[in-house]
Every structure is written in structure tokens, then in C-alpha cells.
């Protein structure tokens, strides 16, 4: 808030124009080689290149016009609103929340429960597959993973860059144990969680004394170690080839989704054969797992261990001087976070029917962490929104076939996933530096809840 733009400043348009041109030139410089020129090799393995001036022009124009609009219109508008708010002098007193906001979670849950039947009635059994799977299950897996990591990063404040390791432990636990012992998903789900929690503790011990950057590096290494073990321990894990034919989950053993089984779900109900039923079932399974994660997290936050996590994030020394065993506090955070990762992992294996080290690369950890940070470290709602935006956005990109009309037939929108991811992160961090839901819900109240809460509690006012 260094500059205070008053409406209709005469120099404003000139300034916007200048900055717009500057941004355009900058974009030209940045993208000239990356976008403007495409390299390829021909049949003789020779390097050939050809220009893509049209695409380059689009990039430059987007940057230039975008900057012009932001400086000329968006920024003054925002400043004006801030100014008006400051003049009014009301520190956003939390007036009674509207019906929607008050019951947001219940409404969201009902909407999610109704989602598969609604989609199915609109798009038909087969047509609903995409929505239930890509836009439902895929997002919910990340919601669950991010909520699990949130225990470690958001609540306990321990920066974990190797979270995907526990996801992998869960997935391989299910894949291997179901193959070896023929145990069902419902038996192996808790076992996978326990095994992952065990590995969480294994990771926790050596990093007990580490904080911040050092902790991040060691957890990163841990994630890579697990992945390398999965690649190289070929006798057990089949290395990079992975394990295929992982058993499907069943409806508690009563109905199966195996095509040949006599108790096949579709057969039992006289429905036409379709893989959609399995996906819909999986949708409800992951939804239930997410709810379990949310419930446990919310409960724990109100219990001594949850309070200890949050206190640990704030000040470890103060924690100790208040009689909190920080060793146990950290280990439980790692263990519980890892357990949720393990649940998600075994679910992933059952859904995919195939696991390989490919699925557990560092990028996954980074994406999950990004979701937690974007959501606002600690806020379940914020994280869910971030997961929907990020994962749903990625899936949407796949759908944007029409972009090929603009950018040419060899334009594959998925490839720009990470670019968009990065842009989104920068945007969120610029406008909402504490994430989508940056304010923390307090857990302690005396008698009745006063309306004062929340209003003064936003940081960064003073």
C-alpha cells in the first residue's frame, strides 16, 4: 500500500500504459526462445526449428494487456475499497454469519453426497464416469492428502517435503499384502494406515531436533529414499514396472466389483455392466475417508494433543516450559499425518489397480504442500478449496480442447499445468498472503461466544 491511487488520477492511464508496455517487452524477452521458437528433430535426427510468432504474440499481449488492466483498473479499485473500509473505521465486525456460511460444511457435505446420482441422471451411467472419477475422486484424494499433511505442516508447523512417502507406503502396503495374503481392502486399510504411521515415527525420530529448512531437507530426502527403495527392491516391488492387478475394493465383502465374480454388484441388481458403479462406490469411500480425516483433525484440535501441536508451531521453547513433551508431540503429529497418507495410499492403489514408483515423485509432495499453503495452513475449508481449485483446474485443462483451435493442433494444455499452478500460487500469495482462509478459528471460549471474536483477531491490522 505504498501508492495511494485516487480515482481519475490524470497520470494513471499513462502509468498503466507504460507498465503494460514494459510487461509486454519483458514477456517478449522471456518467451522469445521458449515459446517463439519450437525445436524438433527430423527423421535424420537433425535439429530443426521453426518460429511460432502467433503464439508468442498471444503471450506478449496477455502479459502487456493484463498488466495494463491491473495497473489502470484493478489496483485503483482495490485501493479505493481499502480506503473506504479504513475511512469507515469499522474493523469488519463479524456480524451474524449468513445462513449459507453458518451451515457451509453441512451444505457442502450434502452436495457431495448427492453429486454422483445427480451427475448420473444428467450424463447417464457411462457419461458420469469422467465427473465422478476425474472431478470427484481425484480431487478428494488430494483433499485427504492435504488434510493429512495439514496435521504436520499446518498444525504442528513441521515442514515436511516428503509426505508422498507415506502415500507410497499405504499404496504398496495394500498392493503387496492383498496380493500375498488375499486380504480385503477393508482389512488392509487400517493396516496400511498403521504401517504408514509407523514410518512416520521412523522419520520423526531423526528429525526431532531439526526445524525449518533443515527439517525440510531431511524429509525431502526421506521421500526420495522410499521412492528409490521401491524402484530398486525389485524382488518385492517389481521396481519401475510396478504392481498391476491390484485387487479392487468390495462393498464390505457383500458385493464385488470383479467382472467375473458371482456377487458382482451390477449382476446382483440386474444393472447393465459398467465401471461407473465401482467409481461411484469409490467416490463414497474416499468421501468417507475425508470426513474421517476432518473429524479426527477437528476433534484433536480441541484436545490437549491438538493444542500442543499448535503451540509447538508457535513456540517450541515456550511449550517445554509449560510442561509439554515436545518429543511426543512431534512424533504423534508425524504419525497421525502419515496415517492419513497411508489411508489415501491404499485407497489410491485400490482405485488405480496399479502402483508404481512413478506415482510417488517429489512433485506430488510439492503439490500437496502447495495445496496446504494455498488453503491457509491449518484451515480445513481453505485447503479443500485449494484442492478443488488446483486439482480441479488441472483436470479442467485436459478438457480445454478448444484451446487447440487458438494455439494450434499440437498444443497440449496439460503441459501448462505447472505453469498455471505457479501463476495461481503467486496470485494467491499476492492477494491473500495467508492463504484462502488465513484466519485461525480459536478453540477456547468462555461461556457464550461473543461477536467480538474474529473481528479483532485478524493479524496485520496494527
Amino acid at each position: 500500500m505504498t501508492e495511494q491511487n485516487f480515482p481519475a488520477t490524470p497520470g494513471l492511464m499513462a502509468k498503466a500504459l507504460k507498465e503494460g508496455i514494459f510487461a509486454g517487452v519483458l514477456a517478449l524477452g522471456m518467451f522469445l526462445l521458449y515459446v517463439g521458437i519450437k525445436t524438433d528433430q527430423n527423421i535424420n535426427n537433425e535439429l530443426i526449428w521453426y518460429p511460432r510468432w502467433g503464439l508468442l504474440a498471444i503471450f506478449v499481449l496477455v502479459a502487456g494487456i493484463g498488466r495494463f488492466l491491473i495497473v489502470g483498473f484493478v489496483a485503483p479499485h482495490i485501493n479505493q475499497r481499502r480506503l473506504a473500509k479504513a475511512k469507515a473505521g469499522i474493523p469488519e465486525v463479524s456480524e451474524d454469519k449468513g445462513f449459507f456460511r453458518k451451515h457451509f460444511l453441512k451444505i457442502a457435505l450434502v452436495a457431495l453426497v448427492l453429486y454422483p446420482p445427480v451427475v448420473m441422471s444428467i450424463y447417464g451411467t457411462q457419461g458420469s464416469l469422467k465427473f465422478v472419477d476425474n472431478f470427484g475422486i481425484q480431487i478428494l484424494i488430494y483433499v485427504m492428502l492435504a488434510w493429512g499433511l495439514n496435521v504436520v505442516v499446518g498444525l504442528a508447523g513441521l515442514l515436511d517435503l516428503g509426505y508422498v512417502a507415506f502415500y507410497a507406503v499405504g499404496a504398496y502396503s495394500y498392493a503387496l499384502l492383498s496380493d500375498l495374503f488375499g486380504l480385503s481392502f477393508w482389512v488392509l486399510l487400517p493396516i496400511a494406515g498403521i504401517l504408514a504411521a509407523f514410518w512416520g515415527i521412523i522419520l520423526g525420530f531423526p528429525v526431532l531436533r531439526l526445524r525449518g529448512d533443515y527439517l525440510a531437507i531431511v524429509t525431502l530426502a526421506f521421500g526420495e529414499i522410499i521412492r528409490l527403495v521401491l524402484i530398486n527392491w525389485t524382488d518385492v516391488t517389481h521396481g519401475t514396472a510396478g504392481i498391476s492387478g491390484v485387487a479392487k475394493a468390495s462393498i464390505f465383502g457383500i458385493w464385488s466389483f470383479d467382472v467375473g465374480a458371482s456377487n458382482n454388484f451390477a449382476k446382483s441388481f440386474g444393472l447393465p455392466m459398467s465401471s461407473a458403479y465401482y467409481k461411484i462406490f469409490l467416490f463414497y469411500v474416499i468421501l468417507a475417508l475425508c470426513m474421517l480425516t476432518a473429524y479426527v483433525t477437528l476433534r484433536l484440535r480441541r484436545m490437549p494433543i491438538g493444542r500442543a501441536w499448535e503451540a509447538l508451531r508457535e513456540d517450541e521453547i515456550a511449550c517445554r516450559s509449560l510442561g509439554i513433551n515436545t518429543v511426543m508431540t512431534k512424533l504423534t503429529a508425524f504419525a497421525i499425518g502419515a496415517m492419513f497418507g497411508g489411508f489415501a495410499g491404499s485407497f489410491f492403489a485400490a482405485r488405480q489397480g496399479f502402483v508404481s514408483p512413478e506415482s510417488f515423485v517429489f512433485l506430488e509432495s510439492a503439490v500437496i504442500l502447495a495445496i496446504v499453503v494455498l488453503g491457509g495452513m491449518g484451515s480445513l475449508t481453505g485447503i479443500a478449496i485449494a484442492a478443488i481449485a488446483m486439482v480441479g483446474g488441472t483436470e479442467l485443462l485436459r478438457e480445454m480442447e478448444f484451446l487447440k483451435l487458438i494455439f494450434g493442433p499440437d498444443f497440449t494444455p496439460e503441459l501448462y499445468r505447472m505453469l498455471l499452478f505457479g501463476l495461481a500460487m503467486i496470485a494467491v500469495m499476492l492477494f491473500k498472503p495467508r492463504g484462502f482462509v488465513g484466519s485461525r478459528e480459536p478453540t477456547a471460549f468462555l461461556k457464550e461466544r461473543k461477536a467480538v471474536s474474529g473481528s479483532f483477531t485478524k493479524e496485520g491490522h496494527g
Binding site: 493444542r307 503451540a311 515456550a318 516450559s321 509449560l322 479483532f456
Partner: protein, 247 residues
């Protein structure tokens, strides 16, 4: 007025304690005793080792040589959280409240030892002692003023129902009026509830006036001790810590 009774056992007995940061010796054989019901203060210049002594009592860092005995138990090599569970509560240097938690939540953290059994009762007490905290109960710790943070830090320590309260420079950086309020609160707690207080201060005048007994620390050693009044009258102390200071 509680006076050290030669026959009674001290609540806290620090004997010959040496504490090191790496190779640097910050405490060079410190002996201090605090008896039940006393306010004892430790004064000394910046860098004398006052905070180090306070932290050594709490076991972080631990003393390399010597012993710290609390309530008849040797706590020299005990981990910090177990020392705290023996009811030594601390308002450390820099206050160290939890900035993102509300005032009430901070107090809750202090009451964890008894699993919040006396929480409501004790919170009311704290609000009587520091009415400012009551007004601010739903506000985040990090947005409180310095004086309020100090009050919160002391109140949080008191929520643990301590046998011994350690205060590290509660007056640091605060307006004189607030300092007066805080010292008044300490006095009330001591007189009404018999709370034992070990106070570290640079504000020697206020500390000596409040204390039953006091120690003077120079370069990691205790160089002088006596009743608060004696030290206030002592010309050496006056020259080093009082003249030109606050009156």
C-alpha cells in the same frame, strides 16, 4: 514477611552451577536459595548471565557442573517439560506467548498440567488480577501491546498453579505505569496467596523495593546478596545499578 529460616529447607537451591554455551562459560559457580513465600530478585547488568541462570533452572541449557534442587528433588539433569510439571512456571525473557492463539487459548496452554481442571476458576482469578486481559480475551496474543503481552505471559505461567514463579525482566520495554501495575500484581500474589517468586530484573530500583531478598550478579557470578532494603542502601549497588536509573 517471610524471612529465610535457617532450619527450613529452601524451595529452590542452586549450588555451584556452571553453565556453558559451547566453550563459553556463562555461569561461573552460582549459589542461590529461594525459600517458600519469598520474593527474591536477581539484578545485574546486561549480559551478566541472569537469563542463563533462569533457563538453567528450567533445564535448557542444563548446568554442566553444580546442582539445582527443587522441593527436595535434584532437577539438574531433568528435561525441561518434567521440570515444568514439578510446578516451576516461567515467564521467560521475551515473553514467548503464542502469537496466533487468542488470550484465552494462551491461558489454556498454561493450564495443561491439570488437564484444565481448574481452568474456569483460574481464568477468573487472572482476569481479576489483570482486567486488561479480560477485555482482550478473544484477541490474538500477537496483536496485544507489550504490557498486555507481559501480563498474559505471567498469567499463563500462573495458570499452572506453580510452586515457584520465575520472571525474567517483566518490566523490559514497558511504560512505568504498566510496570507499576505488574509489580503490584506480583506483590498481591505473594502476600495473598503466598506465591514464591524469583525475579530477574535490570530495573533494580523497582525490583529491590519489591523483594524480600536479592542477589547481584556480575559476569556469571553472584557478587552480593542481602535483603532488598540493604541492597537499596548499599553504596556500591547504588553506584552501579541505581544512580541515573529509574527512581
Amino acid at each position: 514477611m517471610a524471612n529465610p529460616n535457617a532450619a527450613a529447607q529452601p524451595l529452590l537451591k542452586v549450588s555451584g552451577v556452571e553453565t556453558f554455551y559451547g566453550n563459553i562459560r556463562a555461569l561461573a559457580g552460582v549459589d542461590i536459595e529461594v525459600y517458600n513465600g519469598e520474593i527474591v530478585s536477581l539484578i545485574g547488568a546486561n549480559g551478566a548471565g541472569k537469563s542463563t541462570l533462569m533457563m538453567t533452572i528450567c533445564g535448557s541449557p542444563q548446568a554442566r557442573n553444580g546442582s539445582v534442587v527443587f522441593d527436595g528433588t535434584d532437577i539438574t539433569k531433568m528435561p525441561t517439560h518434567l521440570i515444568a510439571r514439578r510446578r516451576i512456571a516461567q515467564s521467560p525473557e521475551g515473553r514467548r506467548i503464542f502469537p496466533r492463539m487468542t488470550v484465552l487459548e494462551n491461558l489454556q496452554m498454561g493450564a495443561g498440567l491439570d488437564k484444565l481442571k481448574y481452568f474456569n476458576e483460574d481464568v477468573e482469578k487472572m482476569f481479576t488480577l489483570f482486567p486488561r486481559l479480560k477485555e482482550r480475551q478473544a484477541q490474538r496474543g500477537g496483536t496485544l501491546s507489550g504490557g498486555e503481552q507481559q501480563m498474559l505471559s505471567i498469567a499463563r505461567a500462573l495458570m499452572a498453579r506453580p510452586k515457584l514463579l520465575l520472571l525474567d525482566e517483566p518490566s523490559l520495554g514497558l511504560a512505568p505505569l504498566i510496570v507499576k501495575q505488574i509489580f503490584e500484581a506480583i506483590k498481591v500474589l505473594n502476600e495473598k496467596e503466598g506465591l514464591t517468586v524469583f525475579l530477574v530484573e535490570q530495573n533494580a530500583f523497582a525490583a529491590l523495593k519489591l523483594s524480600h531478598r536479592a542477589y547481584v550478579m556480575v559476569n556469571g557470578k553472584v557478587t552480593m546478596s542481602g535483603s532488598g532494603k540493604e541492597l537499596l542502601a548499599n553504596p556500591e549497588v547504588r553506584a552501579a545499578y541505581l544512580e541515573g536509573g529509574r527512581h
